[in-house]
Symmetry: C2
Subunit: 220 residues, 2 copies
DNA sequence: GATCGTCTCCCCCGTGCGGGGGAGGCTCGC
DNA sequence: GCGAGCCTCCCCCGCACGGGGGAGACGATC
């Protein structure tokens, strides 16, 4: 059974782009489109998508309000993936507070977009740490950090995973972590993979960046 | 021609350990030992070692004063590698300010110790980022950070290398950095290798940690 | 008793990474 | 003119890493 997606964006071009990227995957199916947040609720009720890819800036009802509305009124709501255009970062953590499961920059590569859809469909919350870093760097203090912190809290790492992430953030290799925790390297690899998936990180470097950006570990 | 090393530590056991580790390498030769900082200067003049591995805490003349004395009085002074026992972190950045080229925890693995000696012998300054992180975590704010910052300043990254490190700290892969800088991936690999060598980092994750710990990049 | 989540360990497999070399072209300063 | 430093690109090579599977043991929860 494929992952079903509903696209919500006021720009037809963006919808077409997302559709092209997602439908290229055999396990993802775009079941509908909407041009405004106001149209989302009936469509969600009718189509029962697994994931809603939702723009934040839209006329009538923006992505944040639409997210709140969906989560408030729909039983077994879909996962909400907030799509942002890079300029409107302050909306991002608002959306996360509203209950969105992750966000994504429009300028992300196709592979990243596909990855994001699959991850939220599986119930993982995510962000791309590098994206947060970029946002934070370009729009003053605070917001990017709050967004990252919000995602880290939502990441729901288990105790063991958090322990592994802390050791990763101290520069240890898998073998060294295994030695430290007195377990096998395969076990460590399992935990590392879980951490990467939950944080939406591609590799251990991005995971460590997320740890710093979110305040999970602090410099100095 | 092998790298020649002078060992300076008041504990014979530590000297014996360092000697065993270093002499196991065909390209490293321990040419002398001293039990106190006061004996260092004549020995340096006589033996002309490439590297002095110096403990910080010693009777009569500590490692910091000994470092200052050597650099002040000897022409073409050797590289100074400060060996610390983990408890005395506040001495570390003092030693770096005094002109030491790097430091090393006694509990480092043999391979790391050898690596450190080779690096400083080649003229690179270094530290082990994970070690700094550890120090900083265990002894409040400031000191570890200052030590890391001092090393980062001493690392003398070129403009290009600094640019590459910034992109590494945003989670980009070598291929992505190459794309961004409009150069080949082999070029990026060269820069990355240079950054790792200068920072004494084993992999890109440790380099990013060093970047955060030193304030080279800042979270939020 | 059955289910779920966590922690543990195992397999295969591709590839990005990093070490080890080398080399040409460029600018700058001596 | 000549070297030093930097940037660029190339080769070979081993390995840690990470994806994608699966599976057993344990405790908590239902």
């Amino acid at each position: 059974m494929p992952v079903t997606v509903l696209l919500v964006d006021d720009e037809p071009l963006v919808r077409a782009g997302l559709r092209a990227v997602l439908e290229a995957q055999p396990d993802i199916e775009v079941v509908g489109e909407a041009a405004d947040g106001a149209a989302v609720i009936p469509l969600v009720r009718q189509l029962r998508p697994d994931v809603v890819a939702m723009d934040v800036r839209m006329p009538l009802l923006d992505g944040i309000e639409a997210t709140r509305a969906v989560l408030r009124t729909v039983a077994e709501p879909p996962k909400i993936l907030v799509v942002t255009t890079f300029e409107n970062d302050e909306y991002v953590y608002e959306a996360l507070r509203a209950g969105a499961d992750g966000f994504l920059l429009k300028r992300a590569r196709p592979a990243e977009i596909v990855h994001a859809v699959r991850l939220v469909a599986e119930g993982e919350s995510l962000l791309f740490p590098a994206s947060v870093r970029r946002l934070a760097a370009e729009y003053g203090e605070g917001d990017g950090n709050r967004a990252a912190r919000a995602v880290m809290e939502r990441a729901q790492l288990t105790e063991r995973e958090a322990e592994v992430l802390r050791l990763m953030a101290r520069g240890l290799s898998n073998a060294e972590i295994a030695e430290r925790l007195v377990v096998g390297t395969e076990t460590v690899k399992s935990h590392v993979s879980a951490v990467l998936a939950k944080l939406g990180a591609r590799d251990r470097t991005q995971a460590v960046i997320a740890a710093y950006e979110s305040g999970f570990v602090a410099p100095g």
